[in-house]
Amino acid sequence: MSIVSTLEWIESTDLSTAIREGALPYPILGGIHLLSIALFGGMLLATDLRLLGWAMVRRPVSDIVQQFRGWKRFGFLLVVASGLLLAWAEPQKLYRSPSFWIKMALFALVGVHALVFRAGVYADPARLDKGVTTQAELAAAMSLILWAGLIVSGRLIAFDA
């Protein structure tokens, strides 16, 4: 099956049609996507700002990383799930959108970020309580940059013809 016919098949599914053509599903999913950006963003910012020493410096790093982990994961799950459903509604438009592919490339870098920094930074944050390593600061800075890049490229999708 070619890519184009796959995308056409996706758009012909009941789920895709319902999201695309109903009055409410698309804006509601868009609203959930935005709210989960704020939820995930808040949790991500709290963790990254602590690693950078810009917020909550009175608390040990491990305290912050561990406490925010659950909500951070929940926010991430929500943002990805709502994003997938939104993409399911109009895959052909996204396929032609350069901003969408930039966003997907950045999303792949999020995976690379996890592979590179997970073991050294996030898996055992207690090690950072004595002092935040350069690697951890780099992880936090990269995480903030990727997050900002995802927001900008995501927003630009709506402006691609």
Partner: protein, 155 residues
């Protein structure tokens, strides 16, 4: 009517021209708006979830609110700068858009609530029920602001 002529004037102002000029202007300002509300509403939500007893239990809501306050402020400032910039790009249509009006009403209520009741709850000892009510209502108001904002494009 004064209001309408003001919005018409705003639509032709230099700021509106800049927003409607280069095609990247609006999406870039809009992206900054998203980062602003993620920063403000995200940090407020952290305190709200703590008030509701749903996590971050190793510190009090008061400590969290105090620690995150500068970032909440930064987010609110970014939101309140970029929002009017986007508004100026199409003032006449926004001001008569029901979703926009709903959003502005909720925003006024959310800000009012944040700087009065919410602030008092995070700065003094209150009963657990009052704390939960304040956290829940705050989350609800900010959710309505974001939902109303998303609906502007669809109404």
């Amino acid at each position: 009517m004064f209001a309408v002529s003001f919005f018409e004037w705003l639509s032709t102002s230099a700021v509106a021209n800049a927003m409607n000029g280069p095609e990247w202007a609006f999406p870039v300002v809009e992206s900054l708006h998203f980062m602003g509300f993620a920063l403000s509403i995200g940090t407020i939500a952290i305190v709200d979830l703590r008030l509701l007893g749903l996590g971050m239990r190793r510190q009090t809501a008061r400590e969290l609110a105090a620690d995150l306050d500068p970032w909440t402020w930064a987010g609110i400032a970014l939101m309140l700068i970029t929002g009017p910039l986007m508004f100026s790009a199409d003032a006449v249509n926004y001001h008569s858009n029901p979703s926009f009006q709903f959003k502005m009403t909720c925003l006024m209520l959310a800000l009012l609530f944040h700087f009065t009741v919410h602030r008092r709850v995070t700065k003094s000892e209150v009963s657990p029920i009052a704390a939960k009510l304040a956290g829940g209502l705050s989350l609800l108001l900010w959710t309505a602001v974001v939902a109303g904002g998303r609906m502007i494009a669809f109404v």
